[in-house]
Symmetry: C2
Subunit: 234 residues, 2 copies
């Protein structure tokens, strides 16, 4: 709203007057009205980033997949369910922001068809055909590529093996500025935990490890993104 | 614990001294370390039943699928993830209770195999083979069938069409005393809502509709189960 926007314009933080778009949480890909494919993301890391960005003076929008009740103070929340919903809401906003952080755990696959009614059980095995969802981050990156004022683009890579190698490949393939790599099989890191340990890789080859509570990690991460922001307007 | 057990023995309610086992929440069937098939159950109806049973004097155990943080005061909670976990915990307890309420939304199918590492995306469609999970309620019913002291058996049927007809079939097929039928596509009923509207069907052909908050519905449901309890011990 206008008051919050005015307040953030005069806030002292390094993100004062900046617009930040963050995706958070899982997506759900329904195969019928009551069954879906998803993942255990609770949105905590993305919401910690939203809170930290707000504290640094930014105007923040979170495109949030289905998580339980969460604190929505201080930033705009756009609720979505599926990867396609998330893609639509991100594409409508990404060209107007200074920083896009894709921290959501977007489903890579969705069922090819969705039944209108609950599928009744049969005794034999069932074959479910899965097709790829829209790659929200890669498409958003393509959408802003080559723009004079391109937002800084940050991705997350949740992996269980060869974490840094996979993350580096994702950074290059998707044209990102920074990627935050997460070994979700490590204790005290990843899905549903209060703490996190991440490796930050940048397009100019830097690599550093951060750990702490998700809010501590979020604050340190945001500071590492500042170098990639476009020049402030006016 | 002993104090709670002693307290419930002297509680004045109609379930004083009775043991009640309740399943609640969804199950998750993982295909790799980070992806699963599930459903939107929040466990609210089952936890409302636990609370209502406790208030009527029962000693309550809840076998609870993955839900967010919930109040665990006044009853034992056994946390589980998959249908097979839930089956194991139920089978270990069902012979020792007076009332078993299967309110969990157990996944009917699980992936045939579970990959040790996160499956990397390929571009083409993927075929996922699903196999049936253990039918927790049907197996529990078989386990106690013919016993002199058989617990009252209550099932839930979440449907989106022909709700009462499907529920009646399930009651008969699984040898239940009562089934609670839920049209999960109706507004203000089913998954994630605070209210519920259900149709209660009994093995002796009764049928009635209940509605209200989930706790109000839980209280009315429990009273409708009393007639099917085995004779109190001693």
């Amino acid at each position: 709203d206008i008051v919050a926007a005015a307040a953030s314009l005069f806030a002292p933080g390094p993100l004062a007057g900046r617009r930040v778009l963050i995706t958070a949480g899982p997506t759900r890909e329904y195969l019928d009205p009551v069954r879906f494919i998803s993942n255990p993301s609770t949105g905590k890391m993305g919401l910690a980033l939203a809170e930290a960005a707000r504290a640094l003076g930014a105007r923040v929008t979170v495109v949030l997949g289905p998580v339980g009740p969460v604190d929505r103070q201080g930033y705009e929340v756009v609720d979505v369910v599926s990867a396609e919903d998330m893609a639509r809401e991100v594409f409508a906003r990404v060209e107007d922001v200074d920083l896009f952080i894709a921290s959501a755990a977007v489903s890579d696959w969705k069922p090819e068809t969705r039944s209108e009614h609950k599928v009744k059980k049969s005794e034999g095995p069932e074959a479910l055909t899965l097709v790829r969802t829209t790659d929200v981050l890669a498409e958003a990156s393509r959408k802003v590529a080559g723009r004079a004022r391109r937002p800084a683009l940050v991705g997350f890579a949740a992996e269980t093996q060869r974490v840094v190698e996979y993350a580096r490949g994702k950074l290059e393939r998707k044209g990102l500025d920074v990627i935050v790599a997460n070994d979700v099989s490590a204790p005290g890191a990843g899905f549903g935990t209060e703490t996190n340990q991440v490796t930050v890789l940048t397009r100019d080859g830097q690599e550093r490890t951060l750990s702490g509570t998700k809010l501590e990690v979020a604050r340190a991460l945001l500071r590492s993104f500042l170098a990639y922001l476009p020049a402030a307007e006016r």
